[in-house]
């Protein structure tokens, strides 16, 4: 949290549904497919179980971006958890945009447990977006405060 920007390695959280994305991540590993090292995978029982506070807290603590990966629409094990997650994601994106952090730091995608290549592709694209956006300014501000820059 207190690293200077010059040594910035993007950190991204990927909240992965147990029934699809987490299996896709495991399959990607079995197939030796590489995705960016800064991705931290967090398994969830369903993306519908994700509370908005979880996402906001991660951003407040300085994570650079978050990708929520749920089942394909119509394929949720709990019927509509992924659809609810989509609506919550949209709400948080609007909050992030309003406060100046930027909506693009948060994204949700849908895939199945067999889509290992798509999983890797989404991770790479999301990481690329974060690199373009730069570090989470909340992390920078924390660094500046701790170093007495402000």
């Amino acid at each position: 949290m207190t690293r200077p920007v010059s040594h910035w390695d993007p950190e991204m959280l990927a909240f992965c549904c147990d029934y699809c994305a987490h299996s896709a991540a495991a399959l990607a590993g079995s197939k030796r497919l590489q995705y960016p090292a800064g991705v931290r995978i967090i398994s969830t029982p369903c993306t519908g179980k994700l509370e908005m506070e979880h996402i906001l807290e991660a951003f407040e603590k300085g994570v650079d971006g978050i990708l929520i990966v749920g089942c394909l629409e119509g394929g949720c094990h709990f019927l509509e958890g992924n659809l609810r997650a989509r609506k919550r994601t949209d709400r948080i994106r609007s909050i992030l945009e309003e406060i100046g952090l930027g909506a693009e730091r948060l994204k949700m995608v849908n895939l199945s447990d067999a889509m290992a290549s798509a999983f890797v592709q989404h991770m790479k694209e999301a990481m690329e977006t974060i690199r373009t956006l730069g570090p989470n300014p909340l992390r920078i501000s924390e660094y500046e405060e701790s170093e007495g820059v402000l």
């Binding site: 908005m52 906001l56 407040e60 309003e98 406060i99 501000s141």
Partner: protein, 222 residues
């Protein structure tokens, strides 16, 4: 219940500008049910405002408490300790809750985080509609339980205007014509003859228009 909607994060941030320690106080009754001012909404707003202030290089410390009901002094005592540690209180209650807190803590600035809207019902998940104006002289018995005072845009008491189209109101095509609903309802419950009686002009002296009202029920006083 009382239905409210949250103010934008930008407005909320502006309201507490200048304060560095603030209490966000939620209410566990109506505004929790209408998803505007309960524990979860207080938490989400806290994160958003804290991050926004940090991005402005003006960090704010926000504590959160949600009490059972802000409109009753009995429950407000739970705010005393957290309120003593902050510069200002932001109430996520309805307008009554905000004012009750302001009266209970006369030395603290108290701000409203919600826009209180109306007395209404939950139609379906996340959709509320207004049903009652609180006019103080309920006439629902005349109209089959459907209130033209609230739900007719023109507040007509003796039948519809000529503007309704396809059973919808001419003022808002999304809204059903209250008088169409009244007619259908009275017919269904076998009271259609009620429509033949002329309803006299409404006595508005019981409504808000002469100022804030007060009710005293002596039999319940202690």
């Amino acid at each position: 219940m009382i239905v409210a909607s949250p103010k934008s994060i930008t407005e909320l941030k502006g309201i507490i500008e200048g304060h560095r320690k603030v209490l966000f106080a939620g209410c566990g009754t109506c505004v929790t049910v209408c998803l505007a001012g309960g524990e979860r909404e207080v938490s989400i707003s806290s994160y958003a405002v804290r991050m926004a202030r940090k991005l402005d290089h003006s960090p704010v410390e926000i504590s959160q408490v949600t009490i059972e009901r802000q409109c009753e002094n009995e429950f407000l005592k739970d705010l005393a300790d957290p309120a003593a540690k902050v510069e200002a209180i932001v109430s996520f209650g309805c307008g009554a809750g905000v004012q009750a807190i302001a009266e209970r803590f006369p030395d603290k600035p108290v701000y409203a985080a919600l826009n209180t809207q109306f007395l209404g019902v939950l139609e379906e998940q996340a959709i509320w509609t207004e049903k009652c104006l609180g006019c103080g002289d309920c006439m629902l018995a005349h109209f089959g339980g459907i209130c033209p005072v609230t739900r007719c845009a023109k507040r007509l008491l003796n039948g519809p205007c000529g503007g309704s189209t396809e059973s919808q109101c001419e003022v808002d095509a999304e809204r059903p014509c209250a008088w169409q609903l009244i007619y259908a309802r009275l017919e269904r419950i076998g009271q259609i003859e009620r429509l033949e009686k002329v309803v006299p002009p409404k006595d508005w002296s019981t409504a808000w228009y002469s100022g804030a009202r007060k009710i005293v029920r002596k039999e319940h006083q202690v």
